[in-house]
């Protein structure tokens, strides 16, 4: 659904040009997506439609909740070669780059663990507490799982044929797929106005001017559910993503679990942390690093994030807000958590 312009003045009634903001909200990839263009022009609605289509296309190609999707067809026999849409091929290549860059902390092969925990379909996290009776308890059949000798992920690509061999395990592209959709949608909106915002389920990309100045103010959600952000960041031409257990958590097999699986243990990870936010120029990279840093837990996040020069903030189980020194210039306000 696209609406706008939001100016209260009819076009043409004023001598000066009135800034026109365009907004769109729709659901895709199991979350709410918001698009916003500051001071757009006549071509803005077309650009916004293109941005929305990006989400539709990424969802269609990369969803794991539709057995007929190209991803799930490839997952069905991961050791075989599959010709796939270029968009899916690009997403798997990005996932592999992220796997290498993070030293395996980002690993899309955790799909088997997620499904074994009952997260094999869209669950109503946003509307109620989820409890899955009779679900498995995370005992999964990964090669080498638990003995520390799990083989590395080595997908194969044939760019000429747009083909991939994922094998031997199926993969989940949920997180990085959303980051890529935000990246590509932002690309579609670039030039459509003086500023742009793409936000999907807490992952956002901001370009150009904000609606109230030359920057965008981004609230970092309180992972304990409080109404006020734990911090407000001021950014321009950057992306912010957060990995959090606030929403996508559920009970199964008599224990509480969440969706951020540590590939080293094949269990829900991030001991001692509730949420990690990363600011990066690219939303897909930010998504990858927010997840990877989360999995390091409260004992490892500070040193790892600082060593890599990442702009990162985190909230631990005790309600402590931490951040790297690199994040300091972006923080305009901190609130009690």
């Amino acid at each position: 659904m696209i609406s706008g312009p939001t100016s209260p003045f009819p076009v043409g009634t004023l001598a000066v040009r009135v800034p026109q903001n365009h907004s769109a909200t729709f659901r895709a990839m199991a979350t709410e997506v918001n698009l916003h263009v500051v001071d757009g022009g006549q071509g803005t609605p077309v650009a916004m439609a293109a941005a929305e289509q990006v989400f539709r296309d990424v969802e269609a190609a990369c969803t794991r909740f539709d057995p007929a999707s190209p991803l799930m067809r490839a997952n069905g026999s991961p050791d075989a070669w599959h010709e796939v849409p270029p968009l899916l091929l690009a997403a798997i290549r990005e996932a592999y780059e992220a796997y290498v860059e993070t030293g395996g902390l980002f690993d899309p092969r955790v799909l088997v663990t997620l499904t074994s925990l009952g997260y094999d379909r869209t669950l109503p996290f946003e509307t109620k507490e989820v409890e899955l009776d009779g679900a498995a308890q995370g005992e999964v059949d990964h090669p080498g799982a638990g003995d520390g000798h799990r083989p590395g992920w080595e997908p194969a690509f044939d760019l000429g044929r747009s083909a991939v061999r994922i094998g031997p395990e199926p993969i989940d592209l949920g997180g990085i797929g959303k980051g890529l959709a935000v990246r590509w949608a932002a690309d579609a909106l670039r030039g459509a106005g003086r500023g742009l915002l793409v936000e999907a389920g807490g992952d956002c990309a901001m370009g150009g001017d904000g609606p109230d100045g030359d920057r965008w103010l981004v609230g970092v959600e309180d992972p304990s559910g409080g109404p006020d952000p734990v911090a407000v960041l001021s950014v321009r031409d950057l992306a912010c993503t957060t990995s959090s257990t606030r929403v996508r958590r559920w009970r199964t097999g008599g224990r509480e679990v969440h969706h951020l699986i540590d590939p080293r243990t094949l269990e829900p990870g991030g001991h001692g942390l509730r949420a990690v936010t990363v600011v990066q120029s690219d939303p897909a990279k930010a998504e990858v690093w927010s997840k990877a840093l989360f999995l390091l837990g409260e004992d490892g996040i500070a040193e790892s994030a600082a060593t890599r020069g990442l702009v990162a903030l985190w909230v631990d189980d005790a309600g402590t807000l931490g951040h790297t020194a690199a994040a300091e210039p972006f923080i305009v306000c901190r609130a009690a958590v």
């Binding site: 956002c204 959600e221 992972p223 957060t242 306000c333």
Partner: protein
């Protein structure tokens, strides 16, 4: 980054200016409270004229002058009060409302050696800062955070 550093410089300037302005404000307020215009008039040299007439003439002129001075200073005090209030808000925003340095019950741990240089992951910038503000700890009233344009958080809205 230049803009960020400029903003940091302005915040630092504001933080430094706040105590000065607060001092001015306090001093002016103390002066105004400690000076009785009538008492000042009585202490002024009085020409040797017949008592009743001299008192009436000097008191009227001096009183009017002093009243004008008091009014002017009251206006200055009011203006300084506004500046102090604005600067306090800026300092509160600069320091954060968890009170890295002022919140009771809060602890601060900083091993920062650099303020960082941006969002790129290329240059390593060591250092982290942790701010603690446990629930239930007493803390000063929090300044309202600026309304954000968007929010980053968990996947999906509650």
């Amino acid at each position: 980054m230049t803009d960020t550093r400029g903003r940091a410089a302005r915040w630092t300037g504001a933080a430094l200016a706040a105590p000065v302005v607060a001092g001015l404000f306090a001093g002016t307020t103390a002066w105004a409270a400690g000076h009785d215009p009538l008492k000042t008039a009585a202490a002024s040299p009085v020409p040797t004229k017949p008592a009743a007439a001299a008192t009436a003439t000097v008191s009227d002129a001096t009183l009017a002058s002093l009243r004008a001075a008091v009014a002017a200073r009251a206006a200055t005090v009011a203006q300084l009060s506004k500046q102090v209030a604005a600067l306090r808000l800026q300092v509160a925003a600069l320091n954060g409302t968890t009170g890295r340095t002022t919140t009771a019950g809060a602890t601060s741990r900083s091993t920062s050696r650099s303020s960082g240089s941006g969002a790129s992951s290329g240059s390593a910038s060591k250092g982290t800062t942790t701010t603690t503000a446990k629930k239930g700890s007493s803390k000063p009233p929090a300044a309202a955070p600026p309304p954000p344009n968007t929010t980053t958080g968990a996947s999906g809205k509650p």
